[in-house]
Assembly symmetry: D3
Homo-oligomer: 287 residues x 6
């Protein structure tokens, strides 16, 4: 995640939070007061979003200094002061909320993903995200997934072939899709989502090139059976499962030996983690 | 929420989901196939985001037609088909995910807010949002709060004076803040956040002009006591409470007679509601 | 007024003044010539726009140095050299006109506002601006009003309720407006514009919450009488007057004891003050 | 002036006047009320800005209809209703101020320019504008000058060579400039500003190619004498005068036979003309 | 290629060709004159860019009508009038050059690609483009390659793994790269560029997952020998060749049985085809 | 060519080449590896685009250092290493292709123009470019023409009057055009394109003000004859020729004594020159 890529996003975030300046600060806080504030984890969390916070303050005020006591992606306990911001109090206050909005959201993603990926450590299974991201925030959300320990599935409609129920409906059936696929060369990986054993068998018996099969909303038992079938017919095909997998059962699914578990919730239903920014000391310029 | 205001946001959402076209669709779906899809509520929800969905498809393809069976803001039951999209299958598929990403998020907010505001119906209390919004999505999130039945607190740092702990810290104490405030004319409403009874009393005994006092993280009993104090000292001041208020206890707090209950979670920790878009029929152009 | 907020405006100003470079400079001025120019006040004025001029030259050429002999908002006499720009002559010449266009306009506003606010010094009256600003320049114009000593009225339609003749017409009368208002909670200040004593009395006798009343185009005598009425009925309401108030009579109106005098002319009919930028010395790089 | 050229400018104007919607309208005005408003000239003026007003309302709301009773550029008397806007009252109110801000400014320019060009009708003299335009508004201001009857001087630094005092200072003297010019081919017209007779003579005696000479701040008598000199030395050279020319003396200067009179004030010190928009009738959708 | 995707590009193209209007047209051509012009192929070519031309004129003037006598991608002979534009002559002239600049460039690409792909028709070889595209024009250039009959290689650094000499240098050798690759899971296809037989053998003998091998600048004989090696070691790997392949020898290389031939020249060194736009008839509005 | 002018173009180029990061680099290259790469001329060429390359790397990563061994515009032989880039290997690899895409294209233009202008050195003829530029790249292409030694013709429709066949057709004939022209004052240079001797004579015999005549597609002999005619009738008029002039015959045409030779091909049909960027050394941060 590079500065050039998020600069416009951050300017928009600042504009939307301050179209005509910070009225409270301008009313009350003299320009010459400097201060130092810390970021405080109010629950256990994985820190994510440091480059964004740095970019927010840099855009607001070149002279603000941001320092971190832990690296990006580190787990910290509730009560940890994990970063410091030093500069004019006006700039600290103007950047506080926008910084926290980014930081709480991205750390929320990374924290959740970390908990899930820890459960499947040691298995061959990777936790994938999806295209179910919040509009305008995709680059950042996918970044937070990686920081958390997850793996990015395709970024967009432009970088992977993924055939789903609506494609099958549009072409009149899975067989028609596979026929079409055989005649259509592509340099991208091809994945097909199946909802039943019948569909799975059609895919496995076809000679169309399919790299990944996604078992959509299969039960635990059905996934087990599906994996056996796949091993028999097309052992080289990768297997993704999706639907109904949560923090409390992911381990069990991973132990079945699937290649990928994907989750929309890690980006579309993010719970912000609790972080606050507290000014700890102020002084006048020149002191 | 007007078209001119969200057009850039939607173009960015489309670009981020399709920087180089929809490879699956271009590989498989012939241009001449038309279809009709419906939006299906997979849980009980309040529909929110119709103008955004219309704008997404209009930008993608002027000829796509979007129709709704219920008005914006309506509650629908799981299983309801609440909207239809008709056009080329390519356009339907290209707009599907971006539409759903907006719709599931905004309906998620509206649904949550509706459940909370229903609980306080009949009381004088209003449910407010905060500035804890997702960067770039503020206009839409605040719109969804209104659709859900909530009331918008200030939109940004530019349209309300809200004095919080960091301001007090920066000026060396609440009394200093109130002194400064008395000498600083403003045409905006003034709100002060207090964390203790001591702070509350300082506010109540000051002759600085304060329109709203926010009791931050006060317990139920303390709010009760605070309201009595306020009635004695400054009955015209409005009272906002914040912290620890959830769907399951909001009613109880409202019945205390506070003016406003504010919640960051309704915008910073949104659970998407489950909606899918299903193609139900396809035909060839000219049929 | 922050750099991130005006950067796009300045880039647009440069693009519109130099879509394909400065042909005169490229034809005549060698790259290696450095120079120093000063800004010269050709009439008495209040300097306003220093951060904009700095941003213009910084965008044009990082190595240009801008220095001021007086702070922003200072009054200078005709003949004063109040700032210096040092860098390549090419950069000086390319930034000259855009800088002056900003500086003459903003100083024009600040100068006019300063003259008016000086006349009402010592009274309780504040001079307000309006939404009658030049498109695209609102942030800067409102900034110049503050530098001049004025106070900003609402910035936009989003941060204040202001009810005017067209709202009254649309709802069928002032009484209907006030009835509607009573049922419509808002966290913003409410102001109503009245054109007659009849309207004023309706407002004063209503129990709708109104924070400010604006007497639109009332004569001196009528304002006097209106203030008495207001003192009787609603002493806590603030009073704004508008229309027909100029530099030569503002003092007289302020002495009546109104809270606010607003003027559209200070932003919609700005007379630029006369400033020029003169190169005083040139030398070759390395000298 | 084309729609594609001003669309971004208008979206910015709307965003700056309504970053989070029109709070007054949303509080008070029901969505279903339609209305018709007129634009009223409150002084004699030349109407300018019709395409901008149309674009403002079109962007706000495709269904608003704008009609004019006089064509762009027409002079109307105080009291004339020269245009009508029909649509939802919400849209009328949201577009009112932005429309008027454009209309009053552009008509202000056109009105002033019309009065000045009328005075020099019948002479060969053209009234020119300058690069002293308000940042971001150059395309529109130069358009208003044309509508008023004036002629555009160069648009930017990219489309004309204009040598002024700072260029002369940078190169060490006018002779050096002319020498340099002789060796520097250009496809653009070349104009030189002179401040004294000495400078004028140097230009007239040089064999550098100069298309226009600008007499900067010459007195009436000096212009007369300069014209005679020019007729003797270089009759084909065009003559522009600048400085001290106002509506009340422009005729006299034009009669001297100069080719161009340029004025910065027509764009940098615009007095808005007085126009209001009044709702004259409202009705409910379906009536 | 969709309208929303190219709108900004076209507005930029218009702004860069007309920052302050079309001076010739405004000087000479009355507003009320309508006309009809045709696009004339002045050499044999494949038409490409119709949607762009339509978008150019639509942005300039909603009332201009564009019609085509052949579909996009069709080959036409020199002398063919393949499209017509009808509207005001001013709009035709303003859109002429920008339209042609797009049309001649994109048709230039499509024409070249068509000639090359025709030569390899019937073989299994696909002609690929590269990332050697002109900045800002990638979406359009890649579209023209498809129209010409070519296949798009990866669009960007985000949608394919392609390991080249600089990666190998950075990691200290090809073996190190392959070791790293084995430990690095990806959902994208993996391609490796080799420059020698030694490198090829390392790839073929590695058990890292490689989907495509690119033989960079191999001679005809060496490609032949490489293909045999690949058939022996890893028959499932796809083979791309690059370097030194031109229209006059592509057939010969394709017959060797490679999967892909890639060419940078088809996008980085485009020869525009000769097309002009000629007004054939004019009339006055109302005729 | 200034940084503010190309920043947006470069960000777009980076976004289009890396919408979601560089997957290969992130997969394989550790963050802490630094390196140094050189730009290698693989054919004789004129270096052009140094400021663009610097801006690309600066935007990507402030810490990358770019150094040149020759100045912009210098001719280098095949095999020359003419520039060095030092920084993290990740940044080098991410900026490689975008840099080269600019550098190869701009140097391609400059190289071609240099070869052509060298042939006409010593004559009075200037080589001009045209408006036949690639959309979005005009500022850069025109810059490369200047670097190569050519002269820019008008930049856009806004900065020169150029009357061509379509204008003549629209007004019903060349005589009508010249009549119109006489009544239409302009401050821009006027050029007319003629296709026949008949047209040329009409221009020469008219008393309309024409600064340049362009002989469109005249043969060598006809140009000779035309020049004689022009010398007789209007010796002060400048002469431009266009059409059929290539590197191998430009000298011969220049010797005829024309003022300008214009070429569309130098910008619309650019052959990229062959440059590569090679990493020559890598080390770990701290070494």
């Amino acid at each position: 995640m590079d500065h050039w890529q998020i600069q416009e996003l951050i300017i928009n975030a600042l504009k939307e939070d301050m179209p005509f300046g910070d009225q409270t600060t301008e009313l009350l806080i003299p320009e010459g007061i400097l201060g130092r504030a810390f970021f405080l984890a109010k629950e256990d969390l994985v820190v994510c979003g440091q480059p964004v916070v740095e970019a927010v303050f840099k855009l607001l005020d070149q002279d603000v200094k941001v320092e971190w006591t832990v690296p990006e992606g580190e787990e910290v306990k509730a009560g940890t002061k994990f970063g410091y911001v030093t500069g004019t109090v006006r700039s600290l206050l103007q950047g506080e909320r926008v910084s926290l909005n980014f930081l709480q959201h991205l750390s929320g993603i990374a924290t959740k993903v970390r908990r899930m990926t820890k459960k499947i450590e040691g298995t061959k299974t990777l936790l994938l995200d999806t295209r179910k991201t919040l509009p305008g925030l995709k680059v950042l959300q996918k970044y937070a997934v990686r920081v958390g320990g997850g793996t990015n599935h395709r970024f967009s409609l432009s970088d992977g072939i993924l055939i789903k129920d609506n494609h099958i409906k549009a072409l009149g059936g899975l067989k028609q899709v596979l026929e079409k696929l055989k005649r259509s060369p592509t340099l991208l990986k091809v994945e097909i989502e199946v909802k039943t054993f019948e569909e799975l068998l059609i895919v496995l018996q076809s000679d169309a090139q399919v790299d990944i099969v996604m078992l959509d909303n299969f039960s635990y038992e059905d996934i087990k059976r599906a994996l056996e079938l796949i091993r028999v017919y097309k052992p080289q095909i990768k297997v993704e499962i999706s639907g109904g997998i949560r923090e409390d059962n992911i381990e069990q699914f991973a132990e079945l030996g699937v290649d990928f578990i994907s989750s929309g919730a890690i980006t579309h239903s993010v719970k912000a983690v609790d972080i606050s920014m507290k000014i700890e000391r102020v002084w006048e310029r020149g002191d």
